[in-house]
Symmetry: none
């Protein structure tokens, strides 16, 4: 496996582990596979990072000092910003009770030590595929809309629709969670990136442009405006 440069659009993985050596090992392997990696050494730090960066996948060590992993997991799941993240618990124990408790608490998956690098990466990718379908070349479908992330192509029914880069990412975000209401801030984060500063009204303008293009054939508007809250895309 060759070393890849993490790109701006690469998936973001948060590693939560109290042992520096573990963090370094995981980070190294994940970065080598092209992921962007953040680390935290305890639950408290993890929650801070999550609030700021909204990682796509969270690797959470079971044995944390002070607060147990399961408790951290529960806290993470209680945060609205973390709804879009997948949580993978990492544990030295393979006792079934732990597994069950972990999953019931809201973890999405579970890896038992010792694990191989390929298993780790497979798990991370499998979860990523679920949480961020558009980042893994999947084809998203909502109603008569089809978005092929790999081919960078959008169809409305039989019609081929051309979108600019921003509108494309915007539509991909909306379609990834159809029905979910995205606030303007969440969309800015997701589509424009965390550190870019643009006026939140800019989202409106792009939504307008997106609507115009999507409905150029006289179709019904698939984007719903929720006054005071944001936008959502919907099947009907």
């Amino acid at each position: 496996m060759s070393r890849l440069e993490p790109q701006a659009g690469a998936a973001l993985v948060l590693v939560v582990d109290d042992e520096p050596a573990q963090r370094a090992l995981l980070s190294y392997n994940l970065e080598a596979a092209g992921f962007r990696v953040l680390t935290a050494q305890d639950g408290e730090e993890a929650l801070l990072v999550i609030a700021e960066e909204a990682p796509d996948v969270i690797l959470l060590d079971w044995m944390l000092p002070r607060v147990s992993g399961i408790e951290v997991c529960r806290q993470i799941r209680a945060r609205p910003e973390a709804q879009g993240s997948a949580v993978i618990m990492v544990s030295a124990r393979s006792e079934e009770g732990d597994l069950v408790r972990g999953l019931e608490t809201g973890a999405d998956d579970y890896i038992t030590k010792p694990y191989s690098v390929s298993e780790l990466l497979a798990r991370v990718r499998a979860n990523l595929r679920r949480v961020r379908p558009s980042q893994s070349g999947a084809v998203l479908e909502v109603g008569d809309l089809r978005l092929d992330a790999q081919a960078h192509r959008v169809h409305r029914g039989a019609r081929d629709v051309h979108l600019g880069p921003t509108e494309f990412r915007l539509l991909a975000a909306l379609m990834e969670r159809s029905g979910k209401v995205w606030s303007r801030e969440a969309l800015l984060d997701r589509v424009w990136g965390r550190d870019i500063y643009v006026d939140s009204r800019t989202v409106d303008v792009h939504i307008g442009r997106l609507r115009k293009t999507l409905c150029a054939g006289g179709e019904q508007d698939p984007i719903r405006t929720i006054r005071g809250a944001g936008y959502a895309i919907e099947d009907r």
Copy 2:
């Protein structure tokens, strides 16, 4: 665990296994946990069922006659109707290569035999939570009222109800604790926020508007006024 009747809204699980005894065992346990269950004895039958019923979760045995589970998994993933399903591979072998191949092929999860019933159910539920987020959480229901916080949407029976932001939050508060009597002050706190000061009669006006909208189809008023105390919403 007591035996539950599978309800109309219950999640649908497809069990694919060639051994009748296995199918029966899995079906029994899943049904006992309240799931609706379908079965198929090979990949071909599975694909037929998937096309017709679009199950939420598919439990796929690795060792199938004629066509291997991994091949079936690939075929399932190729079907657009199966995009909304989670695939859990069930295997007797725990070799890592299989796991990796399974996940890379598009399986969402993996259970190794022997597994316990609680592990099975935990896995199914965890995957369900991902695939059908609305079936496990943010939806409030009281009588024929349904409020989906994620989608910011309200239904009265089959009718789609449109509410303004304030009415939406007001209804959400009432529904969150159905039966509880909310004083005007408590509602002001909860819906308008602690530091905003508005006349407490304003609550009355919004309750009135809410009632009008909720009963626009001639339905019964779901909001009860408790003279001298406040308001409550109720199932009846």
